[in-house]
Symmetry: C2
Subunit: 213 residues, 2 copies
């Protein structure tokens, strides 16, 4: 099954660009991912303005993709996802909707970790009353900042606060958390289910792959 | 990761009882499933009365289970699921909520195939306006009937009508559809994504397994 994965951050290198794709390929044998990235947006999506800029870029790339059985938009804000769902015939999965829906199925009280000053609107709407609490990672503004040496401690501090507030599942509301592989670290520290948004999108698509083998 | 899977149909044989478990184990390497089934309900859950009878039985079994990292209730009506979610500390996933949420993420217009005279309430509520249409399989009343020789054609006829109505994803609203492996048959015939409810529950849990390796 061929998946086109659209990164919402301009990346210079195919290997970096492909790290979300390889996270999916390693987790879900049989899925083959080709990465794409939007142009001229080196800090990615991290606030309303950058999200608004990304929407037409994601939509344009998505509409140009041929020869994919499905598309993943690898951003927890799901920029361009609703447009592409309307216009394309293949499944289009946003990492935001996927992480929200998987998380609310796993737990009753979802704790959301963000890099932005709010929970992405699509995740907030989908979780509804199951959104128990959320935390922004301290001293992080964009997904790039997550790659700094100190960010891991900030994520763990946020997770600890959410678990302390009674959250029984942690939803990671930025696909930059996949890049640094932090879901496993949080799980080992707090023994709570943690949902990586890229894996969540992969899991949703994997169900159709299973029926298509 | 150890998963307890509760069948809502009384089954005499561990091999039959385990066919949903083995569907999960084959699809998601690393998940290990132990099957359970409710007592004294040989026709399973197929209407409001049988669903009401199953709820306390599922809840009782679920509360007695020790040594499981998660529980799957293998019925698209999710009997006992909300109670168990409140009372247990491990994730409890209903096949109904899982198939609804995965399906609505894959497509915009969900077509639901049932064995009963209505769409299970949990699936209807979760799909909301994305529920485009639904069909009951002709001449089938319980999950047992699905195992008859002629049921496959009935399922394909229902799927064909839903695709003809513009549904872009098919949700199978009975875990008996997993027993007969019909998702792949529908997918091959109509080239539309088809979501098996047992695989959907497995996919949701697999995301937490990935973070726990």
């Amino acid at each position: 099954m061929k998946i086109a994965l659209i990164r919402v951050r301009t990346l210079p290198d195919i290997l970096i660009m492909d790290n979300h794709g390889s996270a999916i390929e390693k987790a879900f044998p049989g899925l083959k991912v080709t990465p794409y990235c939007i142009e001229d947006q080196h800090s990615g999506v991290y606030d309303e303005e950058s999200e608004a800029k990304a929407i037409p870029k994601v939509a344009r790339i998505g509409k140009q993709i041929r020869d994919a059985d499905a598309i993943v938009v690898s951003c927890a804000a799901d920029p361009g996802v609703s447009q592409l769902k309307k216009e394309l015939r293949v499944p289009v999965v946003g990492a935001g909707e996927a992480v929200a829906r998987v998380s609310k199925t796993l737990g009753t009280s979802v704790g959301v970790i963000t890099i932005t000053g709010n929970v992405p609107a699509v995740i907030r709407a989908d979780l509804g009353p199951q959104l128990r609490a959320w935390r922004k990672v301290a001293e992080v503004t964009t997904a790039l900042d997550l790659e700094s040496e100190k960010s891991g401690e900030g994520v763990l501090a946020a997770a600890g606060e959410l678990v302390g507030q009674g959250c029984d599942v942690i939803a990671l509301a930025c696909t930059g958390f996949c890049t640094i592989g932090i879901a496993s670290v949080i799980n080992k520290r707090f023994q709570v289910p943690v949902v990586d948004p890229v894996w969540a999108a992969g899991a949703v698509l994997y169900t159709t792959y299973l029926a298509n083998r």
